[in-house]
């Protein structure tokens, strides 16, 4: 069949190596050599800085608190959505993923504008002044990041709970004792393992996050790894070796965590998918459970969507920012400015769209080949490729960006794409390849062996089988992966900040730079447009998945 054998492996491995491994090698090389000689002092230099230990401490503390924060939001939410009458409101799931889809720097800018001295909160409720000081602290940062990341943990927990609902509980009811004991012996261990996996991923994601630390963290003087790496590369005086050393360190931390996560995943994961689909039981709640559930959901939505979006939209509509919330102080001037043809904001936004579409197409193609090769990951080679293609998921984006800069600037390269638009697309492809691989792989795993068997019997050739049967069946996964890649590429900030060629800006860097040098109102208008488009795409995505689900069934 296609995508088998040594040649296919060689081809795919070359792609992955050039795109994903070479940058990491470049980091290693740059960190450990000095004028062609091995030199370990660069790396050990980072430990001499007292600042590095503080940064490490900050990152770890932040990661732990964010795990706690996301748990507080996601765990009750998962129970509410599976155990109470709120299970029937499917739209809640889409709404609950909006915070995760909101670019983190936009979300935290919204929070800053809302909470600062004389911010929107104080204009609405003057007596809330006391909240400002306590908000601009680690607490605020944890809150913002938890509100951004919780959908991730929530979806994992919810899916586990849904699965357990089926035959496991029935079996427990038949053989078990009290419902309490059933809960302790069956539900808890099953939930616990997926919770641990989820929270370790949250930890890695927190370490990798750049947007919130760069906006909110710089405000409260809370440097973390990503912002330190960025500042060594973009502030005066520049220290590139320090940046690569730190990248290497961050990379190692993430790999260690990922290793533990894998260990736990292998040891404590149980097959919970059984033939029986969980029967939908009619759930009738007591009034207080219903009230409490809705209150909780409402509060989470208010904090995670209401407040940041309120600030963003109001700021984009304000005429004179110093006049605050006042009748007559609103206009569409910022939007007009954006939609004037040739305006910097519109150009940046369109650039983002072009980059994201290209990324989606290229990663979908590479992802398809890789997924076809990996199949279920039974052979060694398949596993190797699987690991390498999913690696960008566990390694913080900024590490890859640093590596790509070092690699494409290497003096021995005959030609370079650095400082061209191709560099941007290549970087996005490296960062977001895992999304398409994962989506395509998972829709591939749903194809039953019988399809291939009957195709082998009735089909004419392998090529026809692929074109007529497998590709159409995988199409939904491919499209979902492309949409996801598109959404994520649209909001990518740190890559843009470091590698965009002259005269080119993306929506994300435009918004960011409006805070540094320009007009915040216009920046926020672009943010609103970006987010609106994202939400439309998410509903499309959901529609696509539903449609796919029906044809599968």
């Amino acid at each position: 069949m296609i995508m088998e054998g040594r040649r296919a492996f060689g081809f795919l491995l070359t792609i992955v190596v050039i795109f994903a491994i070479a940058p990491l090698m470049a980091i290693l090389f740059y960190t450990f050599t000095n004028e062609g000689q091995f030199d370990g002092s660069q790396f050990s230099r980072i430990f001499a800085h007292e600042r590095i230990w503080r940064t490490l401490g900050n990152s770890v503390v932040l990661g732990i608190f964010v795990i706690i924060g996301t748990t507080i939001i996601a765990l009750p939410m998962a129970f509410i959505r599976t155990k109470t009458s709120l299970y029937q409101y499917e739209w809640l799931d889409i709404v609950l993923t909006i915070p995760f889809m909101t670019p983190p720097y936009i979300g935290s800018m919204g929070w800053i504008l809302f909470m600062q001295h004389n911010g929107f909160l104080q204009q609405l409720i003057p007596s809330a002044t006391w909240m400002t000081d306590s908000f601009f602290s680690l607490f605020g940062m944890v809150l913002i990041m938890s509100l951004h990341l919780f959908p991730f943990l929530y979806l994992m927990l919810k899916n586990t709970l849904l699965r357990i609902n089926g035959s496991f509980l029935d079996a427990a009811l038949i053989f078990g004792r009290s419902s309490w004991q059933n809960g302790l012996k069956i539900v808890l261990p099953l939930v616990l393992s997926s919770y641990v996996l989820g929270s370790l991923l949250i930890f890695i994601k927190t370490l990798a996050e750049f947007g919130t630390p760069a906006t909110f963290g710089s405000r409260i003087g809370f440097p973390v790894f990503t912002t330190e790496i960025h500042s060594y590369l973009s502030r005066w005086p520049v220290d590139i070796r320090m940046a690569t050393s730190l990248s290497l360190f961050l990379l190692s931390v993430c790999l260690v965590i990922w290793y533990f996560q894998n260990l736990i995943g292998r040891k404590y994961t149980y097959g919970v998918l059984s033939g029986k689909t969980p029967a939908r039981r009619e759930i009738k709640d007591k009034w207080y459970i219903k009230t409490a559930s809705w209150t909780f959901v409402g509060l989470v939505l208010l904090l995670s969507i209401g407040i940041p979006y309120f600030s963003i939209i109001v700021t984009s509509l304000q005429k004179v920012r110093g006049d605050g919330l006042q009748a007559g102080n609103f206009s569409f001037a910022s939007y007009q400015e954006v939609f004037t043809s040739g305006s910097a904001g519109l150009t940046a936004f369109l650039n983002s769209i072009v980059f994201s579409i290209m990324t989606a197409i290229i990663t979908a193609m590479i992802g398809l080949f890789i997924a076809l090769y990996i199949k279920k990951g039974e052979t060694r080679k398949q596993q190797v490729l699987d690991f390498f293609s999913l690696m960008p998921n566990i390694i913080p984006g900024i590490v890859f960006v640093v590596g790509l800069i070092m690699f494409w600037n290497a003096p021995w390269l005959p030609a370079t794409i650095y400082n061209t638009k191709a560099m941007v697309v290549v970087t996005y492809c490296v960062l977001f390849l895992p999304y398409s691989v994962q989506y395509i792989k998972s829709s591939f795993s749903q194809l039953d062996a019988s399809i291939f068997q009957s195709a082998a019997i009735f089909g004419r050739s392998n090529w026809a089988v692929y074109r007529r049967i497998i590709l159409p069946l995988l199409m939904q996964g491919i499209l979902t992966g492309m949409m996801m890649t598109f959404i994520i590429s649209m909001r990518e900030l740190v890559a843009g900040l470091l590698i965009l060629p002259p005269s080119v800006e993306t929506g994300a860097t435009f918004i960011y730079s409006q805070f540094e040098q320009g007009n915040v109102g216009v920046g926020m208008a672009v943010a609103v447009i970006t987010v609106l488009m994202t939400v439309v795409f998410m509903f499309l995505l959901d529609w696509l998945q539903r449609r796919g689900g029906q044809t599968n069934a």
Partner: protein, 341 residues
């Protein structure tokens, strides 16, 4: 069978190439041009440290006048310097515009600039802001003052020491000097010219001085009323915000302040030297200088009238020697960051 497999590979390959070519199109064209050496001088790459609007206006006027296309990278002085450093192996920029003469002088000292002594109009330009050997020209400057919120301030500050008073507690900020070239210039100039400078800075710190990102971020905090005053605020941004109706005013402290020149220089590795020289000429020309004045900056040519802002001779100045200042600036920067971190 083999044929079919080949077909799939070929299609995939073509698609991939097309996709990559789509985004690489322009670059391919550019390298072709470069190798043909026919239109070599028609593209100019400029790395420019703000202000946004001015850079865009100058770019447009220059492109219209000369027909040379300008590729522009805009960022803070820190960002541009670091980009130059990262690109050492394959330089792209022809010309840099920095918001700090000391950094420019640093580029000259490390042999990264080339001289352009034959610049037109160079005699009209303030010689204090420019290099004697023509390595860079101070085509404009901003004065650093105290920008304050007119709504929240009952009594306007008059001198630097006023901001140590209780009424300004937790209400003051300063742009981050590692991001803002003008803020480093201020710290360097102020501490070099005033003996009591560091102790004044310490009293600000005790009074809750916040280090607040790049220039606009710091000023925005004052515009929205989060803070009441920005120390070392760049004046042209404040004038512009004021013209837009924001409740902001800027004053120059009576004991004197720092005027921070913004300079343009041609890089040694420039591939389009003639175009770069034309750009320098344009910045120093009366037309370019008028654009500078329109952006509320101080023109390098004193004869060009400024509008709605204080002219250079109306600003009480500290005397600062910019040449060879980079090493000392680094010292000041380190001392400052240590103090605030």
């Amino acid at each position: 069978m083999k044929k079919r497999r080949f077909k799939l590979w070929a299609t995939a390959g073509i698609l991939l190439t097309l996709a990559l070519a789509g985004c690489g199109n322009k670059e391919v064209k550019e390298t072709n041009e470069a190798s043909a050496k026919t239109q070599e001088e028609k593209v100019l790459t400029v790395y420019s440290a703000g202000p946004d609007g001015l850079a865009a206006n100058i770019q447009q006027a220059f492109e219209e006048k000369t027909g040379i296309k300008v590729e522009m990278f805009q960022g803070t002085t820190g960002k541009i310097l670091s980009r130059l450093e990262a690109e050492k192996n394959n330089p792209v920029a022809d010309l840099v515009v920095l918001a700090s003469v000391a950094s420019m002088d640093g580029l000259k000292a490390t042999d990264q600039l080339q001289s352009y002594e034959a610049a037109k109009n160079k005699d009209k330009i303030n010689s204090d802001w420019s290099d004697q050997d023509g390595y860079f020209y101070g085509y404009s400057a901003s004065a650093l003052g105290i920008a304050y919120n007119t709504k929240n301030t009952t009594q306007a500050p008059r001198d630097w020491s006023d901001l140590a008073k209780a009424e300004w507690q937790n209400k003051i900020n300063i742009p981050d000097p590692s991001l803002s070239g003008s803020a480093v210039d201020f710290l360097f100039g102020y501490t070099a010219a005033e003996k009591t400078a560091w102790s004044t800075i310490n009293t600000w710190k005790k009074n809750g001085l916040q280090v607040n990102g790049a220039n606009k971020e710091a000023l925005d905090a004052v515009i929205t009323g989060e803070k009441n005053a920005t120390i070392a605020g760049v004046d042209y941004m404040a004038y512009k915000a004021k013209a837009d109706g924001e409740p902001v005013e800027i004053i120059y402290p009576t004991s004197g302040t720092v005027v921070s020149p913004r300079a343009v220089g041609i890089l040694k590795d420039a591939k389009h030297v003639e175009a770069a020289q034309a750009y320098v000429d344009f910045l120093l020309s009366d037309e370019g200088q008028k654009l500078v004045a329109d952006a509320y900056l101080l023109p390098g040519n004193k004869d060009i009238a400024v509008k709605n802002r204080a002219a250079l001779d109306e600003i009480p100045q500290l005397s600062v020697d910019w040449m060879g200042a980079e090493a000392k600036q680094l010292e000041v920067l380190t001392k400052f960051t240590d103090l605030f971190r």
